[in-house]
């Protein structure tokens, strides 16, 4: 696995994109909470942290540090994991604010975590080989 200027540029672009998604999540949370008649949900309030901490921050660090960037497959798993966790958090917030529950919400946490784990494993186990994407 090697690093190149284009790889780092790609990471910077990814960081910006996740920052934008985080901002969108923050705005969405604020609007949703504003209309929730004072009912607060941590899942909704901190929704923006998933794309920020799991997406924007790692991508930004990779763009400035001399570390190998993840392969396309690893990134695919990682993005899918962030998506599952973010949607799960948003859904949990909606249900909590409404005052109800769903037996399916755990699936988001489980699938999201597994995908993140798969992405991380893929990254660390294939650091020696460069793949395209």
């Amino acid at each position: 696995m090697s690093t190149s200027v284009s790889d780092h540029r790609r990471m910077r672009f990814l960081a910006r994109r996740y920052l934008l998604i985080s901002f969108f999540c923050l705005i969405f949370s604020c609007i949703y909470e504003a209309f929730s008649h004072g009912v607060r949900s941590g899942f909704m309030i901190f929704l923006f942290l998933f794309p920020l901490l799991l997406g924007a921050v790692p991508a930004f660090l990779m763009s400035i540090a001399f570390v190998p960037v993840p392969s396309a497959a690893a990134r695919c798993f990682w993005h899918a994991g962030i998506a599952a966790l973010s949607v799960g958090s948003c859904l949990s917030g909606i249900l909590e604010i409404y005052g109800t529950t769903s037996p399916y919400v755990w699936i988001y946490w489980a699938v999201g975590s597994l995908l993140l784990l798969a992405g991380a494993l893929r990254y660390f186990l294939t650091r020696g080989s460069r793949s395209g994407g």
């Binding site: 008649h37 009912v39 607060r40 859904l91």
Partner: protein, 346 residues
């Protein structure tokens, strides 16, 4: 290039799957109706015919709805909602009718076994409706499930259920259908025996009409049924116990921290009850915190009072019309469909 296309395709398929699954979860939670069988019925056992189990209907509901057509539709309910703003007229108790031992006005109802007086007051910038109920027997204090069926996403407006069951007075119940856990016993039938949490406070109305507060961690639903529980509500919290306020100034339902519409039921003394609804979320009526609501109920002299589902669900129906201003869909005045009601029937 081929690899990139493959990952892009995988990403697209994953996104579609995530969207479809989320849509299903939302539909399952809020839309798709499901009916469930009762766990145990102490009054009417589930009837099995042709290999299918018919879900038992509440004892009170079964007797009330026999021969009665469901003549109430949404448009009629809308009319009722519109009349809810005429509390001034209601205060005067203008119209009255007397038939077969029944005396009814806009603010009172009386027959041989039921006496109800309705008052509307202002408390902490909030309009509060109080129905003072005196019964000669516990049979008149009943509950009903939407569509007379226990299940999920089975809802009807409080006023519609009240009309279906010939209720004189009704308020929304605990909206058991919004939860997957928490004891549900209605009219002597055990519908759900899974505890919400060990700290969950429930209101138990015994077959003798007495009110008591229990924690689901301390007793099973089956034990409650065996001990004679006739109704069990799993919402809460308890507002007043033994005449003392049992909530703190910062206690709230789940994560709510502000004033809201509220519904409560309380017992002053044996066979003497109150049903109370506070309007909220409007310029005219701010709504109450749980502590303020508990204070109000304590001032009414209740020994035990319990908070039922509030917010947009808070609805009081009396003598054929919705008398408060329910705010479903934010601060819009309209009546929300709920899972269940508590009512006084004749």
């Amino acid at each position: 290039m081929k690899t990139r296309r493959r990952y892009r395709l995988w990403g697209t398929m994953y996104a579609v799957a995530l969207i479809l699954f989320t849509a299903y979860v939302l539909l399952d939670t809020f839309v798709i109706p499901r009916s469930y069988a009762a766990v145990q019925d102490s009054t009417i056992q589930s009837e099995t015919s042709g290999g299918e189990t018919e879900i038992s209907v509440s004892a009170a509901g079964a007797s009330d709805t026999s021969g009665a057509e469901n003549s109430a539709d949404d448009s009629e309910t809308a009319d009722n909602s519109e009349t809810s703003g005429t509390s001034d007229d209601a205060d005067t108790g203008k119209s009255s009718s007397t038939s077969a031992g029944v005396t009814a006005t806009d603010t009172s109802y009386q027959n041989d076994g039921v006496s109800i007086t309705l008052t509307t007051t202002r408390y902490e910038d909030t309009t509060v409706y109080v129905a003072d109920i005196t019964l000669s027997s516990t049979e008149a204090l009943k509950t009903a499930l939407a569509k007379d069926t226990y299940g999920k996403n089975l809802t009807e407006k409080t006023s519609v259920m009240a009309e279906e069951h010939s209720a004189v007075l009704a308020v929304n119940g605990d909206y058991y259908g919004a939860q997957n856990r928490g004891y549900v016993i209605r009219n002597g039938t055990l519908y759900r025996d899974t505890a919400a949490s060990s700290d969950q406070e429930d209101l138990v109305i015994g077959s003798d009409g007495s009110f008591s507060i229990i924690k689901e961690g301390d007793v099973t639903a089956q034990e409650l049924l065996n001990e004679g529980a006739w109704q069990v509500f799993s919402f809460g919290p308890a507002l007043v116990e033994d005449g003392s306020i049992s909530v703190g100034t910062d206690t709230e339902v789940d994560k709510a921290k502000t004033s809201n519409p509220r519904t409560a039921i309380g017992e002053i003394e044996p066979l003497h009850y109150v049903m109370v609804v506070a309007d909220g979320r409007t310029e005219e009526s701010a709504g109450l915190s749980l502590y303020e609501f508990a204070e109000f109920l304590q001032n009414l002299g209740v020994a035990t009072a319990y908070n039922l589902d509030g917010g947009g669900s808070s609805t009081m129906y009396f003598n054929g019309q919705v008398i408060n201003n329910p705010t479903s869909g934010g601060d819009t005045i309209s009546e929300r469909k709920v899972s269940d009601i508590v009512y006084v029937g004749v």
